[in-house]
Structure formats: C-alpha cells, structure tokens
C-alpha cells in the first residue's frame, strides 16, 4: 500500500484547483465547514442531469451531517481504498461501484451465502448456470440508448427484490437461527465506524453526463482526446496500431492486471475505436462493431457480445473486441469526478483513489 501523507495529499489536490492553503483540522473547520449532505446537495444541484431517482445514488454508510475533512472519489470503495482515504485525511468517499457487495448495497450479509441457500442457487428452471439466471444490468451503467448505441434500456430493478433469488419462492427462506456474523462485513463496518467515514455512491447520474465521464477520462488517460471523431466522446480515430499493442497499452495505462481480455486477430490494424463504457448488451455491440475496428467496453455477458466477436473474428472479418473490466472502466470517470468536485466543494481537498483491477492472473 502506498503511504500518502497529509502533506502530499494536500499538495496533490490543491494543484491546479482553487488554492486551499493547508490548515490543520480545527482551523479548517472554523474557516468553512461543509457537511457530507452539503456536498451531496451541491452535486445534485450542479450535476447537469435530472436527479431522477434515489435508488442507487445514496448514502451507504455514515452520518450525512458529518463535517467533511476531505473527499476521495473512487471506482470502488474497497476497504483498501477506505484505508487510503483515512491516511489522506479524507472522511467522505464517493464511489462508483457498490460498497457492500451487491446492487442492494446493504451493510449486513443479507444477500447471499448466509441464511438461505443463497441467491442464484435456488431451484428453478435457471438453476445450473443458464444465461437466464443473469441479473438485469443496471440501467445507469448499460451501454444502450442514449449512449450512442442502440440497445433498449432494461427495466430498472426493484431494490428490495435484488437480494432475493428471482426464481425462489419467498416461503422457502426460513433460517431458524440468526446467521453468523460475516467477518468481512464486520471488519468493513468497524473501520467505517472507527474513522467516522461517510460513503456516498454516485454512478447512475454521474454516468448520464455528456460527454460520458468514463469515455472522457479514458480518452484523456490514453492521449486520444485530440483524435475524437464523434460529438459524444465515444468514437476515436487513432494512428494505426495493432490490436495486441492497443490491448497492452490499455492494460498499462489503466493499471489493469488480469481483468483485461481481448478477442480478434492480434495483428490486425486498429484505427477506429468505439467506446461502450460500462456493461454492454449484444444490441449495442452489433450496432457499433461494423463501423469501428475495435470496441472497448467494461463488461459483457460472455454468451452475448463476446461470442459475437468470436464469430466475427473466426469468419476472418478484421474486428477486435476488448473488455477492460468493469471496475477498471469506472476509474477514469471518477477521476473526472474528482476534478469536477473540486470546483463545487472548494473548502475541502478532493482526490481520486483507484481501487485497481480486482483480478490477477496465475502464472
């Protein structure tokens, strides 16, 4: 873990932003106090898209009235990221991905494993791994209508049901004794409590901004901004590069490890790039691949877009497909978010901390 001193943190975050002179915690509070709720209110007011629902983008932990000492944005609020935030003197964490291991984001282990047989493992026609067992993708994070592609938006899941296996009758879930304490939930909750952290999820509305912050951030990181061909930041025409070199460059630049995977002839030449940030459905891939050399996306169902790209490549059609991983895909967007937050919360230092790539690959 990289040790980040408070001095470094302030130096990093103050650079280029509204200059906030370093103050100790007490004088900072007396100079200008801002609560987590204040910052969230400013986010809602300034984000530039309608705050349409409070299903996903809500407080996940902590007291909104907490006075903020610093803000960390992140792709995913892992315990490791929370520790880095504390080291940096921040107590408000704004995350793209869930904090408590499911879309429902509940701070106790209600979703899976403990108690009943666990979501996705119940009896029913989908038992045993059919694609039909897949949970509905989040509408906020799907490449589809409104992102320059043509996939229909799936219906928004109803929150309480998302922790219940869809094919399982509720009557079956009858744990006679309370489930044992899950040490991972307990450890994370204890750390949040000890350090009085506040966690807010910001993804559904953030990713509705145009240009798409994930595409904007990825292009900036890769040095592609000047090669933009579309108006929506999803298309780029870059100097010729092989598919294999492009994949390697993405891996290095984005800090991916085992999560990045590719389909297509490694030696094919890429010029036209189509970005489909987030989770991509088949329809969006079919609408995009014919007019680009390669699709770069976050995550797909393997039996959909991945198999489509596999068939295209097998037929000898020179097209590539790169899946960089969902968490890695969210990181550039949350970097953009940190830069934006500095402009609406000038009282406090703001910085981005990456959760990295969850995956590694055995040798």
């Amino acid at each position: 873990m990289t040790e980040i001193s408070r001095r470094d943190f302030v130096a990093l975050t103050a650079a280029g932003a509204i200059a906030t002179p370093f103050l100790d915690a007490a004088s900072l509070r007396s100079a200008a106090t801002v609560t987590a709720q204040d910052i969230v209110d400013r986010v809602k007011k300034n984000i530039g898209v309608d705050w349409s629902s409070d299903d996903v983008d809500t407080f996940k932990a902590g007291d909104p009235a907490t006075i903020v000492t610093g803000v960390v944005t992140t792709s995913m609020a892992t315990l490791d990221v929370l520790q880095k935030a504390v080291q940096a003197g921040a107590n408000l964490i704004i995350t793209a991905a869930p904090t408590f291991y499911s879309r429902a984001d509940l701070s106790t282990a209600a979703g899976r494993g403990f108690g009943a047989s666990g979501a996705g493992r119940g009896p029913g026609p989908n038992r045993g791994g059919g694609p039909g067992a897949a949970p509905a993708p989040s509408p906020a994070t799907t490449s589809g209508a409104g992102t320059g592609a043509s996939a229909p938006m799936p219906p928004a899941p109803v929150l309480p049901q998302s922790v219940v296996p869809p094919a399982q009758p509720p009557a079956v879930i009858t744990p006679p004794t309370p489930p044992p304490i899950d040490p991972v939930y307990a450890g994370k909750n204890a750390f949040i409590e000890t350090h009085k952290l506040v966690v807010f999820r910001l993804t559904q509305h953030w990713n509705q901004r145009r240009p798409d912050p994930r595409a904007q951030g990825l292009a900036a990181a890769m040095g592609w901004t000047k090669y933009k061909t579309g108006e929506d930041s999803l298309r780029y025409e870059v100097p010729a590069i092989s598919l294999e070199a492009l994949a390697s460059q993405l891996k290095k630049t984005l800090g991916a490890r085992g999560g990045i995977r590719a389909i297509g002839d490694r030696t094919m030449t890429v010029r036209k790039i189509g970005l489909l940030p987030g989770f991509t459905m088949l329809q969006a891939s079919i609408a995009t691949l014919p007019s680009v050399d390669v699709i770069i996306t976050g995550e797909v169902q393997e039996w959909e877009s991945a198999t489509y790209a596999q068939d295209v490549a097998f037929a000898g059609v020179r097209r590539g497909f790169i899946s960089i991983g969902r968490v890695v895909n969210e990181a550039p967007g949350m970097q953009v978010c940190a830069d934006w937050l500095k402009t609406i919360a000038p009282e406090v230092p703001v910085r981005f901390v990456s959760a990295g790539d969850p995956y590694w690959r055995p040798i």
Partner: protein, 270 residues
C-alpha cells in the same frame, strides 16, 4: 447411407432422460431446434459448449452435421434471430454455411442441468483436477483438498486447464482447502463460512445480487482466507460436453459422436 434423423436423436434423448428421471419440459425455450429441423438426416453428432461458427465449422469438417450445443447459437439466450440479423459482419455467412453444409442444431441446456450428475459440474471438476473422491458428498460440488496456498491452487488450475484468460481474486498467500465449484452463471457464494475458494464460470463484476470480487478483495484486507477463480463461462461448461458426448454415444450407435470445442473466447495482453 444414414437413415437416422435429427428428430430420432431428439426423441431418444427425451426417452432416455425420462428413464433417468428427467421428464422433458416442452415449455423450454432453450432446448429446441435452432437451425434445421427433425427431418434432417444425421451424418454424425458434435456436442459443444456453444454453437459458435468455429464449432460448427470444425464439426462439419469432421463429417458431423448435427450440433448439440449447451448454449446459444445466435449470441443471445433466447436465440432471437431478429437481434442477430441486424449484424452485417458474420450472421449471414454463418447461416449460409449451415445451409450449405446441411447443419442441424439442437440445444441441450435446461435438461442437462437437471441430470445427475450435472455434467457441467462434473466435467469442470475433472478438468481442473479435482478428484471425485475429494467431493464431500455426491453432487455437493464441494471438495476438500490438502491445504495449500491460494496462489498455488490458482496456478495449478490454470496449468491443468491450459487457458490464459482465467481471472483470479484473493490473497495468493491465503491458506485454503475447502472448494466450491460452479458452472456457467451459477457461481456459488464465496461468503459461506465453510468455503475458502470458489471456482466458477461467469459472474457480473459489480451490480449483481452478490459481488464476489469486492468481497474477496476486502476479505484479503481483513485477513479472512477467501479466493475466487473465474474460468469463464465457456471454460466452465465446455468440459462437461465431453461427458455429454459419452452419454449420447450408446443411444445413437448408428453415427459417430464427438465433442468439438467451441474455441477459446478471449486472449490476454502482455
């Protein structure tokens, strides 16, 4: 001259499954003809994970014109061809190939998962080197192996399986011995107290009913021994199509039955 039709093959599959306790569900949308039909004469049968263009081509090259894939043929679970027809790159080429080579495709998914053993599980256990004698109970899909480190186990699985695109989450130094295996999207929960490692096929990285990658990352930070090995949907279910070919062979003695791999999906960059 072969006189066996695809309809004959399907009727025998249904009959034998019924005898073995799996009554045919006519309401299935998955286990149906996806190309060709019951009247097509069968020259040989290929079982495969998915009706990829590669699997169909390789089967045809070997004189096998009946394809029995576990998963879909047109890149979506419902095999909705309206979605696939929108593609100008490969859809027509694939369909034209199937027409020209008198291919018939019949999917076997739901009923295969109802068989005991479920070959997708037993096939994966075989291919990742989990000895059946280490399974805690028949069809429990749980194995207890001599204690090792998670990194060593992951390396062993990758070496035996032989594919690059295996993805792993967790502390390589964690001491592990209790393994749960999954197939396809049915990836078992990793936050069960008496399981150290889950070896599964495919699961959403975030936004699911349970997001194992983040849980396992936090488990490593807290110091709880957990590991997650994600083979890929293809890699987790292809193995069992070998068992399915072995199951089919005695009931269709007139023709050759072979397992033809659907082909690797992903490669990984350096």
């Amino acid at each position: 001259m072969p006189t066996l039709t695809a309809g004959d093959v399907v009727n025998r599959i249904k009959a034998v499954m019924a005898v073995q306790g799996v009554a045919w569900n006519d309401a299935t949308t998955r286990d149906r003809f996806k190309f060709g039909g019951p009247d097509t004469l069968v020259t040989g049968i290929a079982t495969t994970f998915m009706g990829t263009f590669e699997a169909i081509t390789r089967a045809s090259e070997r004189g096998l014109n009946m394809i029995i894939p576990h998963e879909d043929t047109y890149w979506n679970d419902a095999d909705n061809t309206v979605i696939a027809e929108a593609d100008p790159l490969v859809y027509k080429t694939k369909v034209d190939f199937m027409t020209a080579h008198n291919i018939v495709v019949f999917r076997i998914h739901d009923h295969m998962h109802r068989q005991r053993p479920d070959f997708t599980f037993s096939g994966t256990a075989r291919e990742v080197g989990l000895d059946p004698s280490m399974e805690t109970a028949p069809n429990s899909h749980r194995f207890v192996i001599p204690e090792t480190t998670f990194g060593e186990l992951a390396a062993r699985v990758k070496k035996i399986r032989g594919d690059d695109a295996i993805r792993v989450v967790g502390d390589p130094n964690a001491k592990v011995s209790r393994i749960a295996t999954g197939a396809g999207m049915a990836t078992p929960a990793v936050n069960v107290p008496d399981i150290d490692v889950v070896i599964g096929g495919e699961q959403r990285e975030i936004e699911g009913t349970f997001d194992s990658p983040e849980y396992v990352m936090d488990a490593a930070t807290v110091g709880v021994a957990k590991g997650w090995i994600i083979l890929g949907h293809n890699m987790s279910e292809e193995s069992g199509m070998q068992e399915m070919a072995d199951w089919l062979r005695p009931i269709v003695p007139e023709v050759k039955v072979a397992h033809v791999r659907a082909g690797n999906v992903y490669w990984v960059p350096k």
